[in-house]
């Protein structure tokens, strides 16, 4: 199993380690998922997300290439800014969702999901053939540490020279933490303010230690999932897949009206089902794969993610449901262990910072 450069830190902190995308990753530390979740909502948490894939796309054709290969439009990015995007396949679905940073006029760094690393790299390489652009997998060249929460900016600001409070959302800034060069990007996956810190693997432990010593609570993948769900963010493999059209979700804003790979199969198509937020009315927790029923107990959808919100203690989730049942306020039922439990369609986010 693969390990990130921070593996020994996780072991030292007594993390419960689980296999995730081929990596041995912390699910949670000793305090548990709920405590870590609340630390991010009220203070600052720190996550090792070094398993995420980094792919560099560089060359004179880079902007035109990524404008074609991804759903958002990199031409809209100033140098030093990033955007949420997706990689379409040729059948109306997505190969992965991504964060795309413009590091130079003709140079981009893409952050993709660990599980999709090889699919993303080989797809981009295939599309790049014959173009003046180079695609290189830099996953092993970077450790990635996310610092998230209402006090994340103040905490990090004390550790670096540049004034972080001035950094705009989705913008990047070069800095040094304890003499170690890092790139800070004001983004995240928790619904809170925060930064993702790109650092060389050899320096990762030093940077992690300084951030933890400054008071950030180590958080695992469990809290990362509950936080993103509360914030209404999709998770690849749940809300987004090779078979789901992003135009049938609230993330349709990502898809810009321009030529792109697979457009024919995605653009202007009907949405037999749409992705909606659900909140349980009855006491039960929706889980991926549970059937969604209408008043007459007909199957009209399927849950893609669900959890009990550590913050509000409500049961929340995402579900793909037939177009007739997507209006907020619509009553639905989720089949939990054979029993229909009442739910209502709501518009995410379930929590706003």
């Amino acid at each position: 199993m693969l390990r990130t450069p921070l593996y020994l830190k996780h072991a030292e902190l007594g993390a419960r380690l689980v296999e995730f995308a081929g990596y041995e990753m912390p699910l949670h530390y000793q305090g548990g998922i709920n405590e870590e979740h609340l630390a991010v909502r009220t203070g600052a948490g720190v996550f090792d997300v070094s398993h995420m894939a980094e792919v560099r796309v560089a060359g004179p054709d880079a902007t035109a290439f990524l404008a074609y290969a991804t759903l958002n439009d990199p031409a809209r990015l100033k140098v030093g800014r990033g955007q949420y995007s997706m990689l379409p396949n040729d059948s109306g679905g997505v190969i992965d969702d991504l964060f795309v940073y413009r590091e130079g006029e003709d140079e981009y760094l893409i952050v993709a999901n660990a599980a999709n690393r090889h699919a993303v790299v080989s797809h981009l390489e295939g599309l790049a053939a014959g173009r003046d652009v180079a695609v290189s997998d830099e996953t092993d060249d970077w450790a990635l540490i996310a610092v998230q929460g209402p006090s994340a900016a103040i905490l990090l600001d004390r550790l670096v020279a540049p004034d972080l409070t001035e950094v705009k959302r989705n913008a990047t800034v070069l800095a040094q933490v304890s003499g170690v060069p890092v790139t800070l990007s004001r983004t995240g996956y928790t619904g809170e303010d925060g930064f993702e810190v790109f650092v060389r693997p050899i320096d990762a432990e030093a940077v992690w230690d300084v951030i933890v010593a400054a008071g950030a609570v180590p958080c695992g993948l469990g809290a990362r999932d509950t936080l993103r769900l509360e914030a209404g963010y999709p998770l690849y493999g749940h809300e987004l897949t090779e078979a789901t059209n992003p135009l049938c979700t609230d993330f349709a804003w990502v898809v810009k009206d321009k030529p792109f790979y697979g457009r024919e199969a995605m653009w202007g198509r009907d949405c037999p089902r749409r992705l909606v937020g659900i909140r349980m009315v009855d006491r039960a927790i929706p889980r991926q794969g549970y059937r969604v029923l209408d008043r007459d107990r007909n199957a009209v959808g399927e849950v893609s993610s669900g959890t009990l919100s550590p913050l509000t203690r409500e049961s929340i989730g995402f579900a793909w449901v037939d177009a007739a049942h997507v209006e907020p306020g619509t009553r639905l039922w989720v089949e939990v262990r054979g029993r229909p439990m009442a739910a209502v369609v709501v518009k995410p986010p379930f929590h706003e910072a």
Binding site: L27, G32, N34, G222, A284, I285, R287
Partner: protein, 128 residues
């Protein structure tokens, strides 16, 4: 991880305790609660339900997953721990005392004696 000598155990991580009146009280082990992580929801059986050893009698949900809890002995459910409705985390905090799940009036005394003792249960964990 604690496995009290005074209790009996099922390989599926339930503990059982026979009280003076013959009732068998059931919960999940310290190992099980630690594996599950933060317990956030418990579904308990109805009092009066007749059960056969091995039946799914309760469901414990942690943040990440839902786990079935099996009846370690046959009989009738005579009590459930309703306090867990409001405070499911009690299972994490006190798995062998306040975090008990349900009590069964057993119909077959032999089934209790067939359960693992603390040593036998601990051995299953070492193998795992």
């Amino acid at each position: 991880m604690s496995t009290p000598e005074s209790l009996r155990y099922a390989a599926t991580h339930e503990w059982a305790r026979k009280d003076d009146d013959g009732t068998v009280v059931v919960g999940i082990t310290d190992f099980a609660q630690d594996q599950l992580g933060d317990v956030v929801f418990v579904e308990l059986p109805e009092v009066g339900r007749k059960v056969v050893k091995g039946d799914t009698l309760a469901v414990i949900e942690s943040v990440k997953t839902a786990s079935d809890i099996y009846a370690p002995v046959s009989g009738e459910v005579v009590a459930v721990n309703d306090a867990l409705d409001a405070k499911p985390e009690t299972i994490n905090e006190s798995p062998y005392e306040d975090g008990w799940l349900f009590a069964i009036a057993p119909s077959n005394e032999a089934e209790y004696d067939e359960l693992l003792d603390a040593q036998g249960y601990a051995a299953t964990l070492d193998e795992g």
